[in-house]
Amino acid sequence: MQASRRPRTGDAVLWFATGLATLLVLTILLILLVDVIKHGAPRLTLGFLTKAPAEGMTAGGIFPAIVGTVALVILMTLAALPAGVATAIYLHEYADPMAIGTRVVRIAVNNLAGVPSIVFGLFGLGFFVQFAGGGIDKLFFGGAKVYGQPALIWAALTLAILTLPVVIVATEEALSTVPRDVRLASAALGATKFQTVVRVVLPQAVPGILTGAILAVSRGAGEVAPILFTGAAYFLPTLPHSLNDQFMQLGYHVYVLATQSPDVDATRPLLYSTVLVLLALTFALNASAIVVRSRMRKRMAGNQA
């Protein structure tokens, strides 16, 4: 009797403890979502999305922050996508996995993902704003401050480097789902390696690359620390209209409203609504990435059957 009862108690204990941990994690998410939706939804009107902040950020909307965020992530994607996809193609299609160069690239990709976001901010300031921007000013503008200051383009490039590993990992996963037979068939027809990669492998990997791009945008849209010193502004009366303008951004707007408001009670409803918009944006992006990925996996499973 003793022997047969002990295992059952053990299972009950382990099941309960680990199940409780799972439940707690899900509860944290639920509490956060309920709180933000409850306090954020009432103020979330069309006007809030389409108007500029007014009366010292205690009224009005977040239109400039939305425009700034969108401009930022578009520029970021334009920079991160080609570099990330090229790295993934190199790692997956060309590189000898045991070669020292390949290992260095892989270590760099893994560790780039772990660099603290504030370090990216300092790097952006030191490299893009001062070195690149300052260099451009010296060469083309006679030292006048045109590009050598925090700007949309520098913040976007800083975020592009931060999101590079996201694109690389997703693209590599996509490439590994393309069956070997397809590559062999292409080679058998006399295609070169380059032709095979560009015309056969890449088109099949598009959904995976798209997933990577969406995840990168989702990550980039929410990061604040890297743009603190590279281009985000507290408040701007006009929308950014060139690459060297500063910009407002949703995450930075949340930070400013939460920590620097002269009247906390007046800004609280706006703050909650801004958080809700930011959360909805990242949720929509992540959900679409999950859908694209699961479709891709289903299709691959269908191919193999």
Binding site: G10, V25, L32, Y94, I107, S117, F127, V254, A258
Partner: protein, 298 residues
């Protein structure tokens, strides 16, 4: 194309060069040495108006003081609190999802945790500052509303998905044959889990904790908003703290370019870079080795 492929390597090298370049005068510049040196940062100093040598971080004052220990202690305290909360929850969830949960539970929990990973850290910072701090204040009656416990708990929410994802993958990578052999020998489910699956996945679990640690150590917005930002050395987790990352974020906007304060802040970034690099490097290496041993291609 092959040149573009080394973008990640170039990024790592450039990051190191450009933050180290701005921190370099701390070692070489006599003008900066008048105000701060490495020794002054790491050893207690006798400041005018103090009874004994002390570690003080007070960069904006008549006599600027740049002791880093208060920031290091603050960072360690917040990181410790976050790991104490995150490790049991994340590893527990990973065990439940990979060993016990049915398909339906898994299909709810996994995307939910993935979504948790997608929450911007500024949102978690906001939630800690506006909501959690008040709840915990009324619950524990803290002296200071924002402190290491509030920041640590908020930080754990960001760390949980990191640990969970890697840990769950490690548990899933344990070969089926191990489990089948254990069950065939008459072991109960829990015996199989604790005596076969967990030991086999141990390196992966350790790596997941290391990666979580790296994330906690360098996370900025949450601690900037929820820690109270007071640079004091104390063992009490209910005191306000100031972390390395939050110090950089809070102070860099107001410093003179190239001045001593600016240089010191970049030196802190170099410190953050190296500590997270070592933690992540060890974590990733463990994962790669484990995958290879279990016959999964890395």
């Amino acid at each position: 194309m092959h040149i573009l492929a080394f973008s990640a390597v170039a990024a790592m090298v450039l990051i190191l060069i450009f933050i180290a370049k701005e921190a370099w005068p701390l070692l070489t510049s006599p003008a900066i040495h008048k105000e701060v040196t490495l020794a002054k940062m790491w050893f207690a100093q006798q400041w005018p108006g103090y009874d004994a040598p002390e570690h003080v971080w007070q960069p904006v004052s008549e006599v600027p003081k740049y002791a880093v220990w208060p920031l290091v202690v603050g960072t360690i305290k917040v990181t410790l609190v976050s790991m104490l909360v995150a490790v049991p929850l994340a590893v527990g969830s990973a065990i439940f999802i990979s060993q016990y949960a049915g398909r339906r539970a898994r299909e709810i929990a996994k995307p939910a945790i993935e979504f948790l990973a997608g929450i911007p850290s500024v949102v978690l910072g906001f939630f800690a500052l506006m909501v959690m701090a008040s709840w915990m204040q009324s619950l524990f009656d803290f002296d200071s509303r924002l402190n290491a416990v509030v920041a640590g708990v908020a930080l754990s929410v960001a760390v949980i998905p990191v640990i969970f994802t890697v840990c769950e993958e490690a548990l899933g990578a344990v070969p089926r044959s191990y489990v089948e052999a254990s069950v065939a020998l008459g072991a109960a489910r829990w015996q199989t889990v604790t005596k076969v699956v967990l030991p086999a996945a141990a390196p992966g679990i350790a790596a997941s904790i290391a990666l979580g640690l790296g994330r906690a150590f360098g996370e900025t917005m949450i601690v900037l908003m929820a820690s109270g930002n007071a640079a004091i050395i104390s063992a009490n987790p209910a005191d306000s703290v100031r972390t390395l990352s939050a110090t950089i974020a809070a102070e860099l906007a107001e410093v003179v370019f190239g001045g001593p304060h600016y240089t010191v802040l970049f030196a802190l970034a170099v410190l953050l870079f190296f500590v997270t690099f070592v933690i992540n490097f060890l974590g990733e290496r463990t994962i790669t080795r484990m995958k290879r041993r279990m016959g999964v291609s890395a």
